[in-house]
Each structure stands twice: as structure tokens, then as C-alpha cells.
Symmetry: D4
Subunit: 210 residues, 8 copies
């Protein structure tokens, strides 16, 4: 996927994206300390004259329902490219808070919302890259991994339908999980340490180019 | 297992036991907020005239190797009964820090040390209850669960050999995991929220009596 | 008293109930560290598949007059079962702040308000359990204990009149006070340490069942 | 009891005396915020040219056993007059920590130690005023009040035996308890608010004169 | 000046009165640590059955202009007796901030405002005691002392005119300054240490009686 | 330069290396947030089965004189490979603290010390990579840049003499400075933001391989 | 430039002026710790009877665009003399944040705004002193220094056009840079340590007189 | 008094000198925020090529007795010039702590100690400047001012006797007190705000030259 010189890219997502970014929108020193900041640094090192401007609009704890509510603010950032990674909390809440079913987002609502948001980006002529959600668990029959894979399939399906770019972040982690136990990457199998964020950043660097 | 009136019981262990206890030895308001404090409260409610004195000597991060080093201090507490739950970090470090093999404790060292400590308690005429380590993971073929089970078997074997009491804490959690996903009990599958500590306390209350 | 599966129970009360709960309503990790959190943990251990959802709506310092003012918020929580323990501050303020008589709540106002609130719960078809207030003082002729007992009698009378469940928390503490001096349970004879909260939680566990 | 101009008086005691004094010895702005500071201020207002120098050597939590251990430091302050109020913790620990009998001080040890310390002050030609311990509880048959009265009797007896001054602080509080409930004076019946400290200071002002 | 049983007295003033009181109105444990709290304690010790209720409405930095602006709130406290000590900042700002003449309050404005406030208290049938401002400086020809004395004369004049009680606080300090250097009482000659506050409290205790 | 599987590499240096690492030696989550941590993450992503263990032994403010003093501790880490980047402070102190000439390290002392340390590593059979110091200033005739280049030449010369690896970090920054002003990379031209650290990490990743 | 006795001077500027001043306007002890406070102190020492009142209205990060927005508040301070030093951030943002061109202020906008503000001061009959922006870099061909010089020329031109006073702060620093390296004066070549602020204060003292 | 290029000057004194300096010896950014730092900045601005190195060795609360005890450390600083301003606390303690006569230093001890220290500096060939103590009180018959003047006379006498430089700091303040009330310069008449420190710094600048 090609990124125009001196254009903007906004990253929308949950705590994986947020990572302590500045408010209202993270930029430059306010990108936080996750994959967004690492991608920004890698890109500047590799393409020092390109002039890409990276914005971080992640919010810890967000589901796609929350992203949908603040969609207007995301659009207002006027970024030519939108990168969206959402869905981990949509699934996680169904497992760690089963007593509060209103906190998770069921698959059909997730599908419809993502479809609507992606279509909206097309209408607005924004370049789009969808990142699947992931779960740092190698066992594909584990219930939460199985459900996360279904949400990831939805992301890939919608990306294909609208012809936008897609990054399979689960695959990025699965490659590492061949030789690493989940605890090497994250205490809670969700929030990666620097290695996991670097893996995401380098995968993005492969997927995007000037 | 019978506990004599007005006697002392000392709990030795890792962060599951520690839970913010006071130093040098936790007692009364200094028992922390884990299973030791909950057991103490339950016992006082059930047996208000018994007069058991509960001591907490847990240290976050400890393996059996660390417990062995501070064994003298534990003995000096002069408790008539010793409860020992150790081994989680012995196993965990082998999975989350494979690059530092010196941090974990291999099964044979674990076995020999636990055997030596248990024998020492017998020599000193201290009543003893060994608690197995546990892992909040229902899948018995998951590598860390499988290894934890082997360490738990060692505990049960040594308890049987010396004829001391034993509490299978893995069984306590397995009973809950039938209907709960691990995330309901603990974010990192190791440090339980109050429900898990209460399960341990109530199991201890069943295992001990005046 | 029977609690329906997957239903909600809201605890309304004063600082004994509050214990550092989250705002606006305490739930899950936000239940505080008092009897409500301990009851929640005990219930989950004993009935792991029942799915009761526990809410904490205690406010430190509240009298029944304050509870009456925030009654609408309590009702809005939509809990099928309401547990109400109020009255300690209504009495206490008459003894520690005699210069500010407006702070306490006299017996007749207490009676009328509790009657009205209980009737309202009946009209709304909410299952109800009234908990008496308590004072950790064994001498029944001590003036504040004598008054607290009169308030407790009102609670029991109203519970009987409307046929709702009632837990005599004074009795729970009186049982412990047979062998313990008040200072073992609480420095100020009002705010119990963990033993007192556990006594309340276990008494509730006896009073409620799936 | 007469106090010489430009002489020193040292107050030795527990938390009632300590009240946040400076270390190693409280003086001037470091007298804390209890009866010692209030007495100092009252004395300066009443006798502005007298030049008494007030020292505070109270330590929170102390029993007479602790006072005995730091007796040398107290003597080293070279105060011509010594005021000693100790015994509350000696009794209290027997009621709030019955599981740790080593924390309280039994009556005979209290008696022997106080006798020895008082005799020592006589040998050293230090003017002495003994203050009884107190308990803010009007019911003389309450167990802790009854025991505190016995300790107070010991203080009065020893003062009489050695012919030194004595201030009955229990009587100071009993006079207030005629019309005040204990909660007006102290939440825990031991640590008074300003009114109680002022009562002690004014009683001292009556007992001592230039 | 006689104070009715179970009536209220409100103290209005500047930082000397404020001394860290609670907001919105200081009462009981919220009286701060200045002369108001000491007077309250002395009164309770001397007249334990009288039931006076003491309110603190001092605000650090206030001049009479500020007091006039918050007069409505003071009146709303419904205290039967009003004690007013104001004027120190009115004078002080003319000496430490000569570049900002708008901060001080000139004598004529001070006079007119105090006259108006005192008359208003008479109309409202509030018992009134006016306290003069003071300056802890023995040299009456020192410029700020000379000016403070003129403001104090205004207070005494208005008190005489309306026949209300008056306490000459400058006299209270002058008595101490006979034998003490100003530094013994206050580093900045304005904010007294405990001795000065106690002198004010005891003078008030002499001036008021049940 | 080839790195053996499951071997250790220790980074020794100044604040550029330190970046908030843990004490006594940074490892895993304690690598800080500079180029060492980024290199570690990149390496793990690229070579997940290699098992390199990265140690951070940087100390903010160090010159080669300080490194020489703690050389024993560095050696004791038993790392098979040593990466050394030192010299920035040796030069900087000569410019920002000219009044304290003892703080900087002159070129001849720098040369002799680096020669000695490098030889020592050879004797001990440690693989070695020397990193030149750098200055984020594009103007080579600027006095501090000119001096830094001379120190860098010494590093390259010694590396050549002993046949060890060398990374020219000045070149890494010079490549970025072609299109970036120094302020884009660092406020003080010395401590880079993430982009500069990433440039160092990626250059190291190119220089080292399994 | 002559300053009238007992008049006011307001300093408007960016972080160099701000230096931790009080809000809403810094005065007296609230002047911060930069050149404004030092000038105030020097002036008072040299002209102790003059009575100049110094106000600080600097805001860290401000460009002339920000100053223009808060111009009304600056005018409302009613200072007879206005000292304005602005422009450093207008230039700096073009070098450290080239990706956000909206943050800097181009030369023409700077020129027009400064012209308008200066004219406005003339209309309002405020005495005016314009201070050029500066950059602590001796190399006049360095790109940011070159640009800063052009902004400084604009300031000097406008001051000449309207016949108001002008202080060339760049010259003040250039004089020091003859013998000092920029690092002696400031880590980031913008925010001077005390020496630089003192140089500004003394230059102002030369430029202004009673 | 002439100061050699690239030599050192150490300032020894009390809190006026200390002003938050770094430990063990303040230098550069660690000079604190008093007259020492201001003198350092003024000197650098006026004589940028001179290279004087300024050390701050003031200790809050010190009397000449304390200075004498740490004399060895002061000498070890190897400064070619020693500036000593001590005596304020020697006098002050006699007025604010008359109950602790051991805290002040009587005139004869002050005289003998200062004589001994000054002679020692002569023996060691250190250039010396003695600064008198001061008191920000214009009334020369005020008791503390009168005593401070006597101590100042001692300083001037010893300076004359040994032929070393002397700065009359009392005169510096007296000049300001002609038109300023003490409160404009210091709340407590001892610790000046910036104006007073600047007056000292400028007076030093007049007294010393390259």
C-alpha cells in the first residue's frame, strides 16, 4: 500500500494503539510507547525525506462500539490514510466479564459496524488499512482464541470486499509463538512488551511504502 | 489436621502468600490481603475462642531456592504449625524468562529441596501442611500447566512420604475452571482476584480444624 | 431467601458497606474491601455456575435520610434484590456530635423512612433483605448500644410487617463478643477489621441461597 | 508543686504525650500538638517571665517496659523536673491483642518498674510528677476500665510512698464524662481530641506553679 | 459578655482565624489549629454542660473589604453571636506591597465598612464582639505599629458607639512583649505560634461567660 | 559480526545507553527505552529462535574514565560479546563546563584508556564491537563536532588495530542530517528521541548477525 | 527610554519571559525566575525610590500569533510601558516540527502582526520597547540562526518605523558567544541558564532609566 | 580586591548563602538561588573571558561555631579566595530562642573564632573577603539590630587588623531601608527576597574585580 509524501496517517484502536499517547491526538513526542511510535521511528529512519505525519488516536479499553461513537473526531483529523485495529476488547469482555454481557460486542454487531466504518472511509476517499485483532495464545481451539480468529476473519473479509489493505496481526504473533511461550511476549496474553510492538511495527513497515 | 488452641501457624510462600503483608513478619492487621488474611478471618469467625495466631512469611517472587535461604528465619518464628506453598515461580520463570535459565528451579532441585525442608520440619516436631503450586489454566496439556502438575505431584508425593497434611490447590482452581474462564479469576493466570484467594482460604478452613 | 440465577443484588448502606468501592456503582474489582466483596467471593466459590451479579452502592457517612435522597439512583440499578443496612450513623451522630442535632436521625423519622422505602421495594417487586445496624459493644445498657438496639428492633419489625428477609447483624457481633473484647474487632466499635466483615459475609451466605 | 525559674521539665510517655513531636527530643515548635504543647503555651501566657523550658520525650506505642529501656536518654536530657504518664498501652494490648500476650505489661511488672524508675528519680534529685494512665470510658465495671483503674491506683500509691506529686488524669476525664459521651472526646476512647488534651494541660497548670 | 446555652458563635477573620479550618464552615474537628480551636477546647473543659457551638469562618488574606463581600454567608450561618477580628491585612499590604495600593484598605474605608457591618449585626439582633487587629511589635512609633493602633482605635470606638463587646488583642500581645522579643512569638510579627493563639483564647475565655 | 546462539551481549556506555535501565544490570523489561531495548526487540522479532541475551550496563554521565573504573563489574557480567559506546561526555564537558577541566577527558587519555580496554577484551576472548561517539550537528567545522570526529577516529583506529568490529554512529546520524535539522532529532543535539535510537538499533541489526 | 515613577511595565513574551510566573499575571514574588525577575530586582536596587511596578505576562510556547490572541488581556493590564519579546517559537517550530507547518509563523505573518501590535500600542499611547528574538548559536550561516536574524531585522525595522525603543537581544548573546560555547549558556541553545537571563536583565537596565 | 583569572572563590555562610545549593559543594547549576548565584551570573556577563569558578558552601542555620567545625572541608575546596558571611544566627538565636542559650554564640566567642579563622586563611595564603552579618531593621536602637551592629563591628575590626577585604552588608540594606519598609524586603527581616540578594550580588561585584 502506497503512502503519499507529506500525507497523514491516523491510527485508531484500543490500548495496544494508545500506549500513553497525548490528548486530544497523539503526535510526534506524544505517540506513546507502542507500535505506533516504533513504526513512526522506523519509517523516518528508512525514508528520511518522505515526510509522513503519524497521528495516534487509540483509546484504552475501546471496542468497535466506542470507536464508532468517536468516528467523527477521527475523520476530523483529516488524515489521508486510516489504520484501524479494533476488536480485542470486543472479545475479551465476553470472557473476563461474563456477568456484564453489555460490555462485549457480539460478532454480528462487530461485523455490521466495521462494514459501515470501512464503507464510510471509501466514500470519503481515505486510504484504509485494517489490522485484525490478535490474541497471544498459540492454541487455536482455546475458546477465546477461537472467537478472536472469527473476528479476524471478519476483518479480512471486509477488507477483501472493499478492496482495502489488511494486515493479519494474529499471523505476526503466531510466527513468534512457534518458538516463544505466550509469557515471553505478554503477562496477560493481550498487552505485548516491546518485542510484540516491534513485530507489529516492522510488519506495518513491510505493508506500507512510499 | 488438628491445630492446637493458642498455637501459631506460619504461612511461607511467594506473592500469592505475601499480598502486601507487613515486615519482618506479617501478623494481625499486617497479614496482607490474600488467602492468609481471609483464612485468619474465617477461622476467628468460626472458632472465636480457639486463639490461633496466624503469621505471614510470604515473599513475592520467591522460589523454593529463596525459601530455603530464609528457612532459619521461618523456623525462628517458633510457629507450631508450618504451611508451605511454593513452586509457582520455580516453573513460571522457565516459561517467561527462558533466556535466564538460572531464575527457574528444575524439578530435581525442587524435589530435593522440598524433601529436605519437610524432613527438617519433622525433626523439629513442627506440624506441617504442604500446599501444591497451581496454574489457572484448564488445559492440562498446555506446557506450563503440564509442568506445574508435575511439581504438584512432587508435593503430594513428599507429603505422603512423610505423612504430613497436603492441600491440592490446583484442584481448588480446577473446580472453579469448570465453569469460569481463566480471565474471570486472574489476568495473568497466576495472581488471583479475591474469589481465588477466598477459594484457597475456604479450602484451608476445611483442611484444618481445632 | 432465594436468589435467582444471573440476577443482580445491590447493597445499599454506609461506610461499612462502602469500604472504598468504585463510583458511580461498585462492581467486580470495584466492590471495595468490606463484607460486600467478601460475600461476592464466597458466593462465587460456593456457587460457581450461578452467575449472581453483586453491586455496591454504599456511601460513607450516610444515614437513612441520605439513602432516601439517593433512592432513585439505587432503584435505577435495576437489581432484582436489594440489601439495605443503614442506621449506624443515624444513632452515632446523636452521641459524638450532640452539638449538631441535625446530623442524627431520630427514631420516628428513621422508622417512617425505612417503612416507606421497604414498601416502595415491595411495590416495585424487588426482593428485599434488611440488615439491622449494629454496635460492637457488649453492654446492652450502654446508652448508644441501647439506642442502637431500638433501631434494630424497628428494622426487624418492618421486615416482619412486610414479610421480607432480615439479617440481625447485631446478633452476629454479639456472638463474637462473648469471647472477644470490642478492641479485637474494631478500634472505634463501629468499623470492623476483616474478621467482622467476614462474619457479616458468612452470615449473609447462610441467609441467601440459589 | 513548685517549678524553678529557667529550669527544664521533660514529659515522658506514650502517643498521648508524643503527638507528632520532633526527634530526638521535642522542644519549642517541636512539642507536637497534644497536651504538652498546650501546657507550654498556657504556662508562657500565664508566667511570661518565668522561663520554663519544656521538653517532650513521648513515644507512640510505648509501655513502661519501653520507657525503662530508654530511661538513660530521658535522664540525659538533664531536666530538673520529670513528668511521667505511662500505662495505657500496658493495659490496652491485653485487650486488643490477646493473641500476643507479650505485648502488654502485667500489673506486677508495671508496679516494680514504676517503683524502680521513681526511686531512681529521687536518687538523682529530680523533681517528679506522676500522671496516672486513663481510659475514656465512664463505666467503672467495664473490664478495661477496671484494669486501668488498678494501674492508676499503683501510680497513686507509688507517688504517695515516695512523696512525689501526682496528677489523677482519670479524674480529669471522669469530670468531663459526667456530661459527655466518650465519642465526644475520642473515637477510640484513648486518643483525645483537643478538648481532652486541653483538659490535661489545664489540670497540669493547676498542679504546677512557679 | 454572656453566651446563651446551646447557642452558636461564629468567628470571622483572616489567616489568624482561619488556621487551616475546614470548608465551607469550620466546626468541631474542622476548627483549624489557631485561637478558635483553643478557645473551643478551653470552653468545653470549663463549661462541659453548656453546649456552645463554635463556627470558624476565617479566610487567609482577607481584609475588611473581603469580609464585607462574604457577609451574607456569614449571616446565613445563623450564629446568635458574631466575633469579628479583621484589619491586619488592611494595614500590612500598605507596607509590604506599596506598589499595589489597591491591596490595602485605607482607614476611612475601614471605618465606614466596620461601622456598617456592626450596625447590621445590631439590626439582626446578633450579639457581637469586636476584636482589634494587632501587630507583634513593641515599638509604638514603628510606622506599621502606629497605623495598626489607629485601626484598633477605630474598632474600640465603634464597639463603644454601638455598645457591643470589644477585646483589645493588641493589649494581649503588649503584655507578653514586656518580657518577650517579637521573634519568640512570631517569625513575621503577624502569625503567632501556639503561645500567641493561646493568649488570644484565654483572653476570649475571660471576656465571655455562660 | 557473528553472534553465537544463546550467548550474551553487554552494552556499556553513557546516558544514550542507559535510558532508565534497571540496576545493577538492565535486562529484559529493565533494558530502558533507548537503542539497547529497541535492538533487543528487533533481534527477537527477526531471529526468534536464536536466544541472544541482552544486558544494559550504561550509566548516565559516564566518560571513559568512569567506564574504566567499573570495568571489573562489566567483565563479571560474563557476556561473550561486549559493545562499547563511550566518549560523548568526554568531549561535551570540555564545552559546557570549561571552568571544570577535570570533568572532560582529553584525547590522549581517551586513546590510551580505550586501547587498554580493547586489548583487555581481546585477552579475555570477548567478542567486541566499538561504537563511535556522535554529535547531532551537521557542520563538521563546528568546534565540538570537529573534536567529536577526532575521538571517533580514535575509535575506528583502535578497532582496526585490534581487528574488532566497529559501528560508525556518527555516520548513522549524518545520513539523517542530510534532510533533517538537528532539532528534529534532539533538543540538545546529544540525547536523541526515538527516531535516533531506532537508527542506532537498526544499524546494529545490520552489523550483527547470528 | 525613560520610565515614569510609579508607572507599570508589562513584559509580554514566550517561555524566556514566563519562567514559572504566577497566573493570571505575575507580579512581585510571582515574576518567575527569569530576566523579568532579575530586571525587577536590579531596578529596585538601583532606583529604590522610583516605584516601578513590573508585570510578567509571558506564556511558554507562545508565538506572535498567540500573543495577538491574548492582546486584549495584555492591554487590560493598563501598564504605561509594554516590553515585547516574541518570535523564537515562530522560527523554532519551522525547524523542530517541519511536519506540522501550521505551528510556526512565516516571516510575512510575523511582520504584519508585529506591525499591527506596535501600531496599536502607539494609538493607545503606551510606551513601547521591542526586544528581538535570539538564538544562542554563533554561526550566522546556520539555517535557524540565519532565519532568526531575519526576524530580528523585522523587529528592528518596525521599531525604527514607529520610533519606539528596541533592544537587540541577539547582540547581547553574541557578545557572550565570542568567548563561550553555546552549551555554557543553554543546553538547547534557546532556554538560557541564569547567566543569559542576567545578561538580558542588565541590558534592559542599560536601556531603561527613570 | 583583585581576583585572579581561572581561580576559585568559595562562599561560606548560613541560609542566606545556602539558598538550596547542591551538596556536597554547590557549583554551576548547583549554586542555589541566592546572592551567590546572582553574583556568579553578573560576573560572567561582565567578565566573560575571566573564568572565575564560584563555589557555594553555605549551610542553613549555621553559626560561626558550625562554620568552625566544618572549616577543614571549606579549606579542602582549594579555593584561592574565601568569602565568609556569618553571624546572623549567632545573634538571632539569642532573641527567638532565649530558653536555649546554648544555640546562640556570644560576642566574645564570635570574636575569637572569627579572628582564628581569618588568621588561618592568612597563614594558608588564601585571599579573604569578610562580609558583615545584617538585620533588615532600620531602627538602630532595636535590641537585635543593636547587637547585630556590634557583631558587624567585630567583622570590620578583624578585617582591618588582618588587612583583608570587607563588605558591609548592613550598609547595603540600610541604603534600601531609607525608602523601603522591611516587609518589602523580607517577611522575617532576615531572609531577603530577590531584591535583597541582588543588592548583595551587585555590592560584591563592586568590591571584586579581575
Amino acid at each position: 500500500m502506497q503512502i503519499a509524501p507529506k500525507s497523514r496517517i491516523v491510527f485508531i484502536g484500543d490500548s495496544i494503539t494508545d500506549c500513553g499517547r497525548s490528548r486530544p491526538i497523539g503526535e510526534a513526542a506524544g505517540l506513546g510507547n507502542g507500535y505506533v511510535a516504533l513504526f513512526d521511528a522506523c519509517w523516518r529512519v528508512r525514508y528520511p525525506v518522505h515526510g509522513l505525519r503519524v497521528l495516534n488516536f487509540g483509546v484504552s479499553g475501546d471496542t468497535i462500539r466506542d470507536v464508532s461513537k468517536r468516528w467523527g473526531d477521527a475523520i476530523d483529523s483529516q488524515a489521508e490514510t486510516v489504520a484501524l485495529m479494533i476488536g480485542i476488547n470486543d472479545v475479551w469482555r465476553q470472557f473476563d466479564r461474563p456477568d456484564r454481557p453489555e460490555l462485549g460486542v457480539p460478532l454480528d454487531e462487530y461485523t455490521q459496524t466495521l462494514d459501515r466504518l470501512t464503507r464510510d472511509l471509501g466514500v470519503r476517499k481515505r486510504a484504509t488499512v485494517l489490522l485484525t485483532p490478535f490474541f497471544i495464545e498459540p492454541n487455536r481451539s482455546e475458546p477465546m482464541r477461537a472467537m478472536m480468529d472469527r473476528y479476524g476473519d471478519v476483518v479480512k473479509g471486509i477488507a477483501g470486499h472493499y478492496g482495502v489493505a489488511c494486515l493479519d496481526t494474529q499471523q505476526v504473533f503466531d510466527r513468534l509463538l512457534v518458538s516463544m511461550h505466550p509469557y515471553e511476549l505478554a503477562d496477560d496474553r493481550v498487552h505485548p512488551r516491546t518485542t510484540g510492538h516491534m513485530a507489529l511495527a516492522l510488519a506495518l513497515l513491510d505493508a506500507l511504502h512510499p
